[in-house]
Amino acid sequence: MIGAVHAEEAMDTDLVVRAQRGDKEAYADLAFGIADRFLAVARRILRDMDLAEDAIQQALLSIWQDLPQLRDPARFEAWSYRILLRACYAEGRKQRRWAPNLRLLPADEPTRGDGMSSVVDRDQLEGGFRRLSFDHRAVVVLHHYLDLPIDRVAEVLGIPVGTAHSRLHYAMRGLRAALDADARPTTQEAAR
């Protein structure tokens, strides 16, 4: 479904142009179309709803302020995501530590057949994800949540495609290690 959203965004160029000229109604329409998705992305990167809301508020205001400087309205999507990620980064830096915001499932939740096999997986992933740098989190969320191809991820982040590949590889390796850590027996268990 996220891919379908991109198609809708591609048709919003007229809204972008009108908003660039100071049309607040056009910008309201534009913001309405992206705000929920922005919140979802920010929430997944920052792992904290309050921080995510602050980030998208700052991002949406920055986008409004800087829209006249966007040279190519067709590139609004990548440009706006870049502003969102900057805002996320700024919010993240305000916190000396990432605020814990684990949302563990109830213990009796049935196992799902989609690979999300256990509460422990979520716990391990949460911990593993929090250990990733912001740059690595962003690549994972853009690629695996938004379904952006890696070259689009690179465009959004303003980095070479090879660097995006490298960050994704490193991040996924870290998350895999987090999952595997749970599967490995502890020292005490191994000694029994």
């Binding site: 142009v17 660039q20 000229r21 100071g22 607040k24 910008y27 309201a28 913001a31 309405f32 705000a35 929920d36 922005f38 919140l39 979802a40 929430r43 997944r44 709803m49 995510a52 809301e53 998208i56 508020q57 949406l60 205001l61 409004w64 302020q65 800087d66 829209l67 006249p68 400087q69 040279r71 949302r103 799902r112 989609d114 690979g115 999300m116 096999s117 997986d121 979520r122 992933l125 994972v140 969320v141 695996h144 949540y145 996924m172 998350l175 895999r176 999952l179 595997d180 599967a183």
Partner: protein, 305 residues
């Protein structure tokens, strides 16, 4: 032990949980704040918000209409070579109904004042002064009613070219374009000589000696400024390398696109309105593009306020 495929599947599933976030509350806050959050004007696509805009814009648009009608009239009613027929007779007040059937596209203001501009005459206007210019070649883009023209829709280094017209009246020329926020003069420059003097003294601009010029009979001065090749805009105040500010705006009205930018300025007094025409380019800009910008300046016909 997880395989890469397992990890990917688990991570994707994990990321897609809790997808019930709603940004409505934040969105409401943002929209409430738009009225008090002005947009930052871009050098090439500025949103002009000077207090005098409405008055000047009204005058400018009215003047623009007169200019277009007069121009259409002159085109439709005959040339000095006299091809004969009724249209060859000069008529002081051309009839719009006569002009409609054969209006040459190149002399109409663009109905959508953004985008590709055909060769020919266009009404170009900033807030204060309307003027006509001749676009001498292909691939000129811009917003004529904002006084902006860009060759190939590219005003960036290393080979872009673009021009912008300011008719603000009051120019706060910064002493240091990189430290503009702390070097804004207390009083604005309000005359040609004051603007030229302030720009000549601006730090790091390697300004040329001012030269007397005349555009459409209006006298003024021309000066060329440079942006150092090694300028680092990100180290400047709010990332702007600013030339000047205007009343009512807290950030530079004119700021540079890239290091290495060359600005040829024409500063004119058009019946009491201070007009600054800024043509910008780079070492790598084709000479033809620079020549076309100069030709556009030479073609300017002011409709004085």
């Amino acid at each position: 032990m997880s395989t890469d495929r397992d990890t990917t599947r688990i991570v994707r599933s994990w990321l897609r949980t809790d997808e019930h976030e709603s940004a409505d509350r934040v969105l409401g806050t943002v929209l409430d704040r738009l009225d008090t959050t002005p947009q930052r004007r871009a050098t090439w696509w500025p949103a002009r918000r000077t207090p005098t805009m409405n008055r000047f814009l009204t005058i400018g648009l009215g003047a623009a209409a007169v200019v277009v009608l007069l121009f259409l009239g002159s085109r439709l009613l005959g040339s000095p070579s006299g091809l004969g027929g009724p249209g060859a007779e000069p008529t002081p007040t051309p009839q719009a109904s006569v002009a409609e059937p054969s209006v040459p596209p190149s002399v109409e203001p663009s109905p959508t004042p953004v985008g590709l501009l055909p060769e020919g005459s266009h009404v170009l206007s900033d807030a204060g002064v309307a003027m006509t210019v001749d676009i001498p070649g292909p691939d000129w883009y811009g917003e004529p009613f904002k006084g902006i023209l860009i060759k190939n829709d590219n005003a960036d280094a290393p080979d872009g070219a673009g021009m912008i017209v300011f008719t603000e009246g009051l120019y706060y020329v910064y002493a240091d374009p990189c430290r503009w926020s702390t070097t804004t003069p207390d009083a604005p420059a309000t005359t040609v000589d004051e603007v030229v003097s302030a720009l000549s003294a601006q730090a790091s601009r390697d300004a040329s000696a001012p030269v007397d010029v005349t555009v459409d009979g209006y006298e003024g001065k021309s000066i060329t400024l440079h942006v150092p090749d090694d300028a680092v805009f990100s180290e400047c105040d709010q990332d702007f390398f600013g030339s000047w500010g205007v009343e009512s705006e807290s950030t530079p009205a004119r700021y540079s696109q890239d290091p290495g930018q060359i600005d040829e300025l024409w500063i004119l007094d058009v019946d009491g309105v201070l007009v600054v025409i800024d043509t910008a380019y780079y070492e790598g800009t084709p000479a033809e593009d620079v020549a076309e910008m100069r030709a556009i300046v030479d073609s300017i016909t002011f409709e004085a306020p």
